[in-house]
Chain length 335, copies 2
């Protein structure tokens, strides 16, 4: 006996990965309902050897649905959340629509699984950068108590969707061919270039929205409003894998050896490095993989109780689609 | 009455830029001697409307030379430094051969010009990442006293030479065409990928050589062996412009407004941002330009007396060729 699962935004970069993860994980599904805008409706997509026709997302889409995975943007989510919850489905949302709502748990299953069970119909998937960061930092936090995170990010095109990935590829080809190219999706030329994250700039805070998400969502998931988080979010010309240079200060003195041991045992995390060979995590190690990869863990001798590490994760998987499916799996396992 | 200037490594990526900078700056030159390995000898290069034939670099290359700009790698520099100095030329070296030698000044003209005049025949050009960083940080250091620098770098292919730039372009084209590509110059695939800086890993220090250069060279130039510098150096798929996310703690409390004012007046620095438009420095603003560009200066509320900024500079120019020519200009102006 399986579930009825809906995916809203099924044809987007994250929606496509949600279908793949549900299939790879053999999530028990009786019916998979693929929902999208009228523009994409009628298209067929493959799931588990079958062709499924994409339907128009509307108020009636959720009858009989157990889990509705949304990756359709904040506006669409807000528009259809009421109908979804009223129909009795649990809405697991990849957008930022409800993340900071006090009535909506914000969950990374490796970090704060218990929070999921207090849901009132909606559970939010955190921002990709935050998921990747906290999946790695949580076991260290449990050991020594996180006090401050300083993050410099190296973020991929995929965070801005499939169209941004296509624009990076097409703009790069144009550059190599010496042809003009005008970006349509991202605000600046992306070929062999980089720029501060294009989310809105909050001048009173001195952060862009992406950086505030890292702070506010980390505080919410770790239940610590005093957690200090400072970040610089940069888009680099990489297709689908984020990396983060993390400098992390703890209440208690951390041990480098124990950090490696904790991370070697941490769920969803893989330590991947070869010190002798000067070999550390890279996007090509991680792209298409489920684990967040960490390495190059170092004591920072310039600040008390501080470790430094290099974290790389697939933005579309653990940063989005995988985490949403894991939340559904967490709920399903308790039923 | 002009000088006789030699460029050792004239056909490399930095050598080519040295020729362009000497020409653009109208450095007073009577004779420009272009030197390279036997492989490149006989080639002609243009300077100020003339064709100059590249000669083989050897022990006799420096007769009558006033300034010898070297960008030929540490080994070649060490091999020919004796002959160069003996011939009476001032050797301005872009390699790391003599940077930490107590008898060799390490100079960024905007930072520590006075050090240059104590030379004994050799002056070293600092590491590119360090030049770009200190050009921006020096005026803030003079105001408030640098205590700690935390840097995450976004480094271009050009730091590994023209061959690495070509490899990035060719590997990227192969990726876009779905064709196999085996890197020959850099250790890992570079197309839409990134990796920790490929300089040797010093396991006892927990840093790669590039990161140690940032620490040790900064200490030497600022004459402060207690300066704390911690960095993570990453190569991103950008052709010739480095960027650095700097988090900088001072002895005295810095002011954001004054930081902008100091940097607006700082030699070699350009503040380039439009807060209202969420527009910050990018490589495309800087590539081929002489100034180091800084923006996105913020107070870091998570650490005392700390500012955060985003710095972008052309690796081949201020990071290498331009700084070397500026050192020659500094000496020439005093004669």
């Amino acid at each position: 006996m399986g579930y009825t699962v809906a995916i809203a935004g099924a044809t987007g970069a994250v929606g496509v990965e949600m279908i793949k993860v549900l299939e790879a994980h053999k999530f028990p599904i009786d019916e998979l309902r693929l929902l999208a805008s009228p523009r994409s409706a009628g298209k067929t997509m493959r799931y588990d050897g079958r062709e499924i026709t994409v339907q128009v997302l509307d108020e009636d889409s959720f009858t009989g649905v157990d889990y509705a995975l949304f990756s359709a943007g904040s506006g669409i989510t807000k528009q259809f959340a009421g109908a979804c919850v009223k129909a009795g489905a649990v809405l697991i949302d990849n957008s930022s629509a409800f993340r900071m709502d006090d009535n909506v748990p914000l969950v990374v299953p490796e970090v704060n699984p218990d929070d999921a069970f207090g849901h009132q119909g909606i559970i939010a998937n955190p921002n990709c950068t935050t998921i990747i960061m906290l999946t790695v930092l949580n076991p260290l936090h449990r050991a020594w108590g996180l006090q401050r995170i300083h993050a410099a990010t190296y973020q991929a095109a995929s965070g801005a969707g499939q169209a941004a990935m296509d624009e990076l590829a097409e703009g790069t080809r144009a550059y190599l061919d010496g042809k003009p190219f005008t970006p349509q999706v991202l605000p600046y030329p992306y070929a062999f270039n980089m720029f501060a994250h294009n989310s809105p700039w909050m001048d009173d805070e001195g952060y862009c929205e992406e950086e505030l998400k890292m702070r506010n969502e980390s505080r919410k998931m770790l239940h610590d409003d005093a957690l200090r988080v400072h970040s610089t979010c940069i888009r680099v010309p990489v297709l689908r894998t984020h990396a983060e240079a993390l400098n992390v200060s703890f209440r208690d003195a951390p041990s480098l050896k124990q950090a490696y041991a904790l991370l070697a045992d941490a769920p969803g995390v893989r330590v991947h490095e070869d010190r002798a060979a000067n070999r550390w995590p890279m996007p090509t190690d991680v792209s298409g993989g489920e684990e967040v990869v960490v390495g190059r863990i170092r004591v920072d001798p310039t600040l008390d109780n501080t470790l430094d590490m290099w974290v790389v994760g697939d933005q579309l998987l653990k940063g989005a689609a995988l985490n949403a499916v894991q939340i559904a799996e967490l709920l399903a396992a308790q039923q």
